[in-house]
Symmetry: C2
């Protein structure tokens, strides 16, 4: 099934809608998965093997403004700089706009991102979420957030979770067309929960998460146990959130991240996003915990860690270098 | 079931046998598993969850000499030094001898080990294998190598594989008493195969492999896929050995080792034998391979790597620091 067919299912006949003559702007926060999305059951539609659960980072995200282009091609500006038409970033965004554009309509797209470059924070998550929200305004589709989550997912899987602040669960769904694979916010808030970015390297990743997850699915025997791991961790994490049990949340998130990286290690060729500095950082966290500090980490498809904690002051003493990000 | 019951099954009534008045000496090489032993189905009898396959290191091992002690306790000498009676090493060896000793017989045990200290080479494997062989001579039991493999296993699981040179397979077996859980040598020889020890740290391990495997079995969801991984790797490794296909052997061994460490990473608390230097060493191997060199690694419950290769000269250029060990 094609993405365009899903778009038609949701929006209907696109020619019914006219673009706004005024610019349309939308913001979406990026998110960090506490129970990871790792593996697609459908690569075209970004349908995941498992559900996942994230926390949004309120002030790290993308603000995207759309207006009609005066020339016959899309123009993307990222943080004030023109994105080269030959870049893969340009191509990926234009292909996404192809799903929605009426004949001969091209767009000026101005993206202001507050996501630190190369920090391993999902810039495509907030990017496609902000794009979906901006498109909805621009064409006055008036879609539900469930529908917008599906549209964002067609751009990038984790974008489905970036339409809200706080905790968000992306339901894997079972349908082939993915109409039941969308995210929803959880009711619970937890303002005391802190997230810290522990940069260990700004090097580019050697393999994209898209490629790494596909390689893992195809070659890792241990991946076969990943769905059960996620099922267990999701249940536990929701319980931890409900009970405001920080250690249970931290343990579950750290274990889930390590298990995701474990599935990659057992792929062939092996995939490791860990640099020597990553292991050193993990060992610092484990040592801090052995010293009695309540701190845990999660790690995405990159070498940096994200620390999870409650007590900011104590964390600052152990990890003075971390950049703190408030989820709330 | 107790170890002593197994000993009786194999040897019969121990009081039939008298100790030699002359010293009895035996040597056993240590071994490196290419498909790992990770996880016990019975902790008392060291019965493994899966089969495993190793290569022995001809000139790294233990030579053990037994004679009757003139005092009323066992005396252990390791490389010329008295082992303190209060050490866990002394206790473990004495408990093993308890399985075999007639009333009031104590032994002088002189162990000469050529296994580098703290190198992550299994010193207990060759230690208990040499002990079983020496006991067989000392008491003139005249046991088969299958029976000796079982006796060595009661001391340390991997010792069951240390009675032979070359490739050795330890059959997991299915019986509760473990009488079908013993090792056998493979017929194939491969004199060109090289093993190199890549030391990255001489630090003590923070958790014993015995504890780590138990924790993994009890808490790692991914461990549930380990038996299938081993089944696949064993089949592939045997094929590689038969065909003298080095890349297939190397890939299978490296993937199996990484998968073993992956099961530990997803245990709770997470277990990692990787130091930052270990990751750096792995990356050097991966880079060498990307440069066209045929080299692979395996890693046991410690931070050091063992390199597998054919072309010694090429390896020396990339890894001048490694200590080479000839398996043949």
């Amino acid at each position: 099934m094609k993405k365009s067919a899903i778009v038609e299912k949701i929006i209907g006949n696109l020619s019914q809608y006219s673009p706004s003559q005024n610019p349309a702007t939308a913001y979406a926060p990026t998110n960090i998965a506490l129970v990871k999305y790792w593996g697609k059951r459908n690569q075209e539609l970004n349908l995941p093997v498992t559900s996942s659960l994230s926390i949004s980072l309120a002030d790290k995200g993308a603000e995207t403004t759309l207006s009609i282009s005066s020339i016959k091609q899309d123009v993307f500006i990222l943080n004030g700089k023109l994105v080269p038409a030959t870049s893969s970033f340009h191509r990926r965004l234009s292909l996404y706009l192809d799903l929605f554009r009426p004949n001969n309509l091209f767009l000026d797209v101005n993206i202001v991102s507050t996501v630190p470059i190369a920090a391993g924070l999902a810039s495509s998550a907030c990017g496609f979420a902000a794009m979906a929200l901006a498109l909805d305004k621009f064409f006055s589709w008036q879609l539900s957030s469930q529908q917008l989550s599906i549209l964002a997912r067609l751009g990038s899987g984790s974008a489905s979770r970036s339409l809200w602040s706080g905790f968000v669960e992306w339901h894997a769904g079972v349908r082939e067309d993915g109409m039941d694979s969308y995210a929803e916010p959880l009711h619970e808030k937890w303002p005391e929960l802190g997230v810290g970015l522990m940069m260990v390297s700004e090097s580019e990743k050697s393999i994209s998460s898209r490629e790494a997850m596909q390689l893992t699915i195809e070659t890792s025997e241990l991946y076969k146990s990943w769905p059960q791991k996620v099922e267990h961790d999701l249940k536990t994490l929701k319980q931890a959130i409900q009970e405001k049990n920080f250690d249970l949340l931290g343990k579950t998130a750290e274990s889930n991240a390590l298990a995701m990286h474990a599935t990659m290690l057992s792929a062939w060729p092996p995939v490791s996003y860990c640099f020597p500095e990553t292991i050193a950082a993990m060992r610092r966290v484990w040592q801090a915990r052995a010293d009695g500090l309540s701190v845990y980490f999660t790690q995405d498809a990159g070498p940096n860690l994200k620390l999870l904690f409650i007590d900011q002051d104590a964390i600052r003493q152990y990890f003075p270098e971390i950049e703190e990000i408030r989820p709330w």
